[in-house]
Amino acid sequence: MKHFSITSLFLSLFGLLFILSCEENNTYIQSLEDPVLFNESMQQLSDVIVYDIFSPPVASRVYMYPTVAAYSIMQQAFPEKYEDLEGQISGFTSIPSLSDPKVNPHLAAIHAFLKVGTALIFSENKMDSYREALYEKLEEEGLPSAVKEASLAYGEAVAAHILGWADTDFYKQTRTYPKYTIQEGTAFWKPTPPDYMEGIEPHWNKIRTLVLESADQFEPAAPYPVDMDKNSPFYKELLEVYELGEKIDGSTEATQIASFWDCNPYVSHHRGHAMFATKKITPGGHWIGITKIATTQAASSFDETVHAYTRVSAALFDGFISCWNTKWNKLIVRPETLINEFLDETWLPLLQTPPFPEYTSGHSVISRAAAVALTDIYGDNFAFEDTTEEVYGLGVRSYPSFLAASEEAAISRLYGGIHYRRAIEEGVKQGEAVGNYQVSKLKTLK
């Protein structure tokens, strides 16, 4: 009797399941088709980068590898549309080929993206819980376990492949290189108030470039020699920063521009022994945000979205290496240091001075490189509303084009009191060169 009842229960449950599966729930397919899913995953990565406080150059690395993982799977899925990156980017070999028909390439791409991302950030649990929630939702939407297993297995294999490649980029070794030893002399960069943090990533030029042949391939023109003679071009630049800083107050648009593009991952606020910190996305993160806006506005498909992120993160990656090579070779002192020493003891820049040398402006270089990449894909005169910083209370700004946005990002550093004009102008040229070189060398679309 007992036996019977249990068996019958089983049978009826089975029948129910059968009936349910007959009314096949396929919403997961639409979900996986939707680029929103990739945008959200990218957003998750950005959020953890902010939480974990990655410096701008290291953040660019955390964006690039997961994105290339996703791209490579898209390339496998759409070989007629996309080029393999082997032979195009340093040290990269083709990922395992996609042969299992059960694999959903979008799910595999998401999985590889999240797995590589998780390996590169610190707060793994934040990535894990996001991923688990995502898969749970997809399963509720009918994702068959066979598809899931196959896709994840493939994604996993690709992630391992990409991480093996990432492991040889000299990141690990550069962690053991000496810290920067502060140089005497007015011209040399010194740590800046309020925290006098040590210089960030003095050996970033040792990181393997992606498309560039070397870190110093696009060296900008030399900075003006630091010279406190009142007639020297350097002094005039210094004075410009100082006088602008005096003129700008909270109400001017320049202030809004500077704050909007601040993109400082960690700003500490001291109130006696009490402190608190504010965190923001990095400059690279801001352009990842703009990429999301562009792909959405252009109604790009899932794979086109991945492609756009790939081009942008590649530009950011090489841009940072190029710029950091310049910074740590030129070792130019920040305006705050000299203004306090020679012009005005009480002067404070509008933005907190970031902890690395001045020349060239990182934001100028990487914004331009990213804008060139986006222009190549979506064309010039792609007007958009930049909502990236809204979550940080910094409002929305509109731009007629990516290049216009990059121009504003560049000049914002002058308004912010953290760069001289030349570092911005030459930085834009440097970014343009990096961007153009990538456009000419890196073939992604067939």
Partner: protein, 1090 residues
């Protein structure tokens, strides 16, 4: 039945035991309600007024104890920051009555801080001066002076007396600085300006702040007039004063001032010039100070009649708090601060031991009182009436403002969510989420010999948020009771039960002043009992924002009669002999008599500094070890200058050669018949400019009858492939002219970092052989280096015969010291060597080979750093004087709890990770490095320890994994004390007890000689190490040590070292005739005649 009875027994026993335990504490916490002393400093914050808008929001209130109605019972006044202050009248029998309302002393200002009881108007009644602060925007922060009307009523009269100061006042100390018979006041004000708005390069110290700033106010016929500028008192916007302590630090009868400043400003030590002005002397008197200095106290802690100074800071003693609420400045920031005039400040309490020569030695780490968490009021008083002043430290911060998780993760999320508008932050919301953890106050029993032992049995370690505290004999039973003011918690009142102990003795003084100083503030009382001297001063303002009982108190170890002498503030003296203790004795300033100044006795001097020495200033090359070896705590690159001596030109006088640092030439100084030295203008050593000389020795290498030179090259600043590491021989032409030898030394074939070079004829063949020890493997700190025996073939050619003679020298350790000596008395040279994380190795010369001597010394694993082998007791067997790290350090080691260095490339990135750790109470190892330092070295750790909470109690096996730990190279240190080992017949060694002053700093140079010409060998030692990470703090307490041989293996030290006293990092001694020549790193050569 039986079981039941047994259980009852146990229960009873437990009860008895626990009851017993309750009453066994020296102090008993009172039930405030039953004694009528109910008080709580309650705080409430808003979005407008809170710790973010007013940085001293959680600094708390103070306590004043004094007899306001002259009934012989001391009363208590308590400040509350936001609510009314309260006055409690002592009714006797530990009963109090709140008379705030009727007496009119509640106060009307926005925020009260410190309180002082003083008879300001000299009418014989104690008045109450309350400091006010906190009102950032408004103007309700004038200080209040409640003038005692004699009928338990007070009238606020600050304005009338010129004492209604508008600054952010913390406290005030009344004393007669100019000895005109009235009470002047030092007013401690905290700056108006926000932290974070300062560019540190702009040192504002000399500029007076018009609004705030510290002030010295002179009492001019009852009106207080600001004389700060004229008197030389700083009063700038960078004065963040939290403590003012007045006392006579140089025993000239005039009171001096110590001001402890919070944040980046250094403290001030003002010496009274005896002419109405002060000279600020901190940097010449003191070497290291507390960083964010809070409260302070001044008292004679070792009964040597000199005032010592203690300053509180915020370093946690609890491991988990250290790892979750603490950060330290990095080397660059520390250097930057020093460069800009903020001096050597450290995150820890400091105990400045008065050397009696206008210098202090900072011995907080030696005494074990450097870490007590977020500390405020510290008080030295004799809790148990044994004659030694014990230490109480009030601790706590209502919100853990520096909680690192809050700072790095929680606050930023919350800020994002709580932005109101225009980037404004909702502070109230932010503050709500800051953790709040009550912490224990700390009480240390003074055991003598600078040994303070934290003792919970004193009964004072209640958890809370304590700030100001004051002691006084509340029940007139001859011991000091304690009152502690807390934030958002009831007051702690502790009754001292010393009177129950029959060994308890004391003498208290009721001071009758004169003129307008009715309490005799500034009187110095000296009590002598059975040859022991005890001192106390009439100075009630101590600790933090508080005012003590105005009856000076001395605890005594016996009841035998005492002789008393009082030095009154007017310079007169009163002497009372054969007074029976255990009484309250009235001392009247009117009895004071003028005394001719006693003739100072001729000083007992052995050493006299002389200018007749080599004129040389050592320069260290700029190299920051920490930029490459990130986990090191001490720089290894500053071991020089080393020296060697010998008659190089055969004129009968010993000459001196000094080894140069990298980029700085080594120098030869030629001695003449008058004992004068002239530099020999040679060029040969230019060849070595690129190298660093780490040791050098003169010896006749080629047997031509003159002294040749072996120059050891090393230094951590080179890569292990640098040819600059190759050692070099210079041959002497007999006239003192050196030429470079072309011999390729075995030590130059494979470059290594030479640590020590010693010479001796080890094989008895008439020529001189060498030992060369490897200090460390560059770039691989922790890996063992090798010792090399270089045997001379008689032609001056050396062959490395280590493998056959002494294979145990290979990879023996990080060798820093060695010497040859006949240890076992068999007439050949044995080898003694040691180093960092090494035992003391004795290799006995057996003719054809060396064998390791068995015994205890192998197990004495230290950070050995200096060696002198000499027969101290003239028994024919050479003894070992061996310098070590010392005990004035954050690092402690014993056989039971050794230090361990675990070495392995844990994250497999090609670089070794040397993790220095200590063994905790649970016998597990814990790292010294903070989370972010370890992550900086091993990035992957951040994944496993994503926040401070997960890291703060992780032991090394959790951090590195047990498996990795097991695979590590593990080095141990179990002995950090400098030692003398007496050689007992060449087979056994016995360690001597040495004076504690020997252990105040690492020792890098030792010399022995009969300096006092009494026929036995005495010892000088020198050391200090300055280039040290801020978290451990530089070692600078030594001014050199002189140990006089008293016979019978007793070595004594003396205050003032019998004239051998020298500031700086001593690196070598050379004795040439009757001169002791001392070299110091980055400093000049000093010479002493003896």
């Amino acid at each position: 039945m039986q079981i039941k009875a047994f259980a009852t027994c146990i229960l009873l026993l437990l009860c008895l035991w626990s009851c017993d335990k309750q009453t066994n504490t020296l102090f008993e916490l009172q039930d405030n309600k039953s004694i009528g002393l109910e008080f709580e400093n309650k705080l409430s914050f808003s979005n407008e007024f809170n710790v973010y808008t007013y940085r001293n929001f959680y600094n708390g209130g103070g306590v004043a104890i004094g007899d306001i109605n002259n009934d012989g019972l001391v009363d208590i006044y308590l400040t509350a920051n936001q609510e009314s202050n309260q006055l409690f009248l002592n009714k006797g029998n530990f009963q109090f009555e709140n008379i705030t309302e009727t007496s009119g002393v509640g106060g009307n200002r926005a925020w009260s801080t410190g309180v002082t009881m003083a008879d300001v108007n000299a009418d014989g009644l104690l008045d109450i001066y309350v400091c006010n602060s906190g009102d950032v925007k408004g103007d309700s922060k004038q200080n209040e002076l409640f003038i005692n009307q004699g009928d338990l009523k007070f009238i606020e009269s600050a304005e009338k007396y010129g004492l209604a100061d508008q600054g952010f006042s913390t406290h005030a100390s009344f004393f007669d600085y100019d000895k005109d018979g009235d009470l002047d006041v030092y007013l401690l004000n905290n700056s108006y300006q926000a932290i974070g708005s300062f560019d540190l390069r702009r040192n504002e110290r000399p500029k007076r702040d018009v609004k705030g700033g510290d002030k010295l106010l002179e009492n001019q016929d009852g009106i207080y007039v600001d004389v700060s500028e004229k008197a030389g008192i700083y009063g700038s916007v960078i004065g963040f004063g939290l403590g003012v302590t007045v006392g006579d630090v140089n025993n000239d009868g005039w009171e001096d001032i110590y001001v402890s400043n919070d944040f980046f400003e250094r403290d001030y030590l003002y010496i009274n010039n005896q002419n109405g002005t002060f000279k600020e002397t901190l940097t010449s008197a003191i070497n290291s100070i507390s960083g964010a200095s809070m409260g302070a106290d001044m008292a004679d802690i070792n009964n040597d009649q000199k005032a010592d100074i203690f300053v509180t800071e915020m370093l946690p003693s609890d491991y988990e708090r250290l790892k979750s609420v603490t950060t330290f400045e990095d080397w660059d920031k520390y250097t930057y601060n020093v460069k800009n005039g903020y001096y050597h400040q450290y995150t820890r309490n400091t105990l400045q031991l008065n050397n009696g020569d206008n210098t202090f030695s900072e011995v907080g780490r030696l005494a074990g009182v450097e870490a007590s968490d977020w500390s405020w009021g510290a008080l030295f008083f004799d809790m148990d009436n044994d004659g030694l002043k014990d230490l109480f430290i009030a601790n706590g911060i209502y919100r853990d403002l520096t909680d690192q998780d809050y700072l790095q993760y929680v606050s930023s999320d919350e800020v994002i969510n709580s932005i109101v508008a225009n980037n404004q932050v909702d502070y109230a919301r932010l503050i709500d989420i800051i953790p709040s953890n009550p912490i224990e106050n700390q009480a240390y029993k003074n055991l003598g010999d600078l040994n303070f032992s934290r003792d919970k049995n004193l009964g004072l370690e209640t958890k809370g948020f304590s700030n100001g505290a004051a002691y006084g004999d509340l029940d007139n039973d001859g011991d000091l009771d304690l009152v502690v003011n807390n934030v958002n918690m009831p007051l702690f009142v502790y009754k001292n039960q010393s009177e129950k102990n029959p060994k308890n003795h004391f003498i208290q003084f009721k001071i009758k002043g004169a003129d307008k100083n009715t309490q005799g503030i500034g009187a110095q009382i000296t009590v002598v009992q059975e040859g022991n001297t005890y001192t106390v001063a009439q100075q009630p303002i101590r600790g933090f924002q508080s005012s003590m009982d105005l009856k000076p108190h001395i605890g005594l170890p016996s009841a035998s009669p005492v002789d008393i002498s009082v030095l009154w503030p007017n310079g007169k003296k009163t002497a009372l002999n054969k007074v029976t203790p255990n009484t309250l004795l009235t001392l009247d300033m009117a009895t004071g008599k003028s005394e001719k100044p006693t003739e100072t006795l001729p000083k007992d001097i052995v050493f006299t500094p002389t200018k007749e020495g080599p004129a040389y200033v050592h320069q260290e090359n700029k190299f920051i070890d920490f930029n490459r070896d990130r986990l090191l705590h001490h720089m290894m690159s500053t071991p020089g200058p080393k020296t060697t001596k010998g008659d190089i030109n055969g004129d009968g006088f010993e000459d001196l050669i000094i080894g140069g640092s990298k980029g700085n030439r080594s120098e030869i100084f030629m001695a003449d018949s008058n004992g004068m030295f002239t530099v020999n203008n040679h060029f040969i050593f230019n060849k070595d400019l690129a190298s660093e000389v780490t040791d050098l020795t003169l010896l006749d290498i080629d047997q031509d009858g003159d002294l040749d030179l072996y120059m050891g090259h090393g230094g951590i600043e080179f890569s292990k492939f640098s040819p600059e590491l190759a050692d070099q021989i210079y041959l002497n032409d007999g006239q003192g002219n050196f030429s470079e030898s072309k011999q390729e030394l075995p030590t130059a074939v494979q470059f290594f970092n030479t640590g020590v070079v010693k010479s001796g004829d080890i094989d008895g063949d008439g020529d001189i052989d060498l030992f060369v020890g490897e200090r460390s493997i560059n770039g691989a700190y922790g890996l063992p280096g090798s010792g090399h025996l270089l045997v001379n073939n008689g032609q001056g050619v050396f062959e490395d015969q280590t493998e056959t003679l002494a294979p145990m020298l290979q990879k023996i350790g990080m060798i820093s010291i060695a010497d040859f000596s006949d240890i076992d008395g068999d007439s050949d040279l044995d080898l003694v060597l040691s180093g960092e994380f090494m035992g003391v190795h004795i290799l006995l010369n057996e003719g054809s080979k060396f064998t390791a001597m068995a015994g205890e010394l192998n197990q004495e694993k230290g950070w050995w750093s200096a060696l002198n082998i000499t027969d101290l007791n003239a028994d024919g067997y050479p003894d070992l004087i061996i310098g070590n790290h010392g005990e004035n350090s954050r690092f402690k080691a014993s056989r039971e709890r050794p230090l361990a260095l675990f070495v392995k490339d844990y994250d497999e990135n090609g670089a070794l990770d040397p993790i220095l750790s200590f063994m905790g109470e649970d016998n597990k190892y814990y790292p010294f490095n903070l989370r972010h330092n370890l992550i900086d070295q091993m990035k992957g750790l951040k994944k496993r320890f994503p926040d401070y909470k997960s890291f703060k109690n992780a032991d090394l096996s959790q951090i590195l994994t047990q498996e990795a730990m097991d695979q590590s190279l593990k080095l141990e240190a179990n002995e950090l004390r400098t030692k003398i080992f007496i050689n007992q017949g060449g087979t056994q060694f016995r360690a001597l007890d040495l004076p504690v002053s020997v252990q105040m700093a690492p020792v890098f140079a030792i010399e022995s000689f009969d300096f006092d010409h009494d026929g036995d060998l005495d010892i000088v030692m020198g050391g200090n190490l300055f280039r040290v990470k801020p978290e451990v703090g530089r070692y600078d307490a030594s001014f050199g040590t002189y140990l006089e041989n008293k016979g019978n293996d007793v070595f004594s030290s003396f205050p003032g070292n019998k004239g051998f006293t020298l500031r700086g990092e001593i690196r070598s001694f050379q004795r040439i005739k009757n001169r002791l020549i001392v070299t110091r790193n980055s400093d000049s050569i000093s010479s002493f005649k003896f």
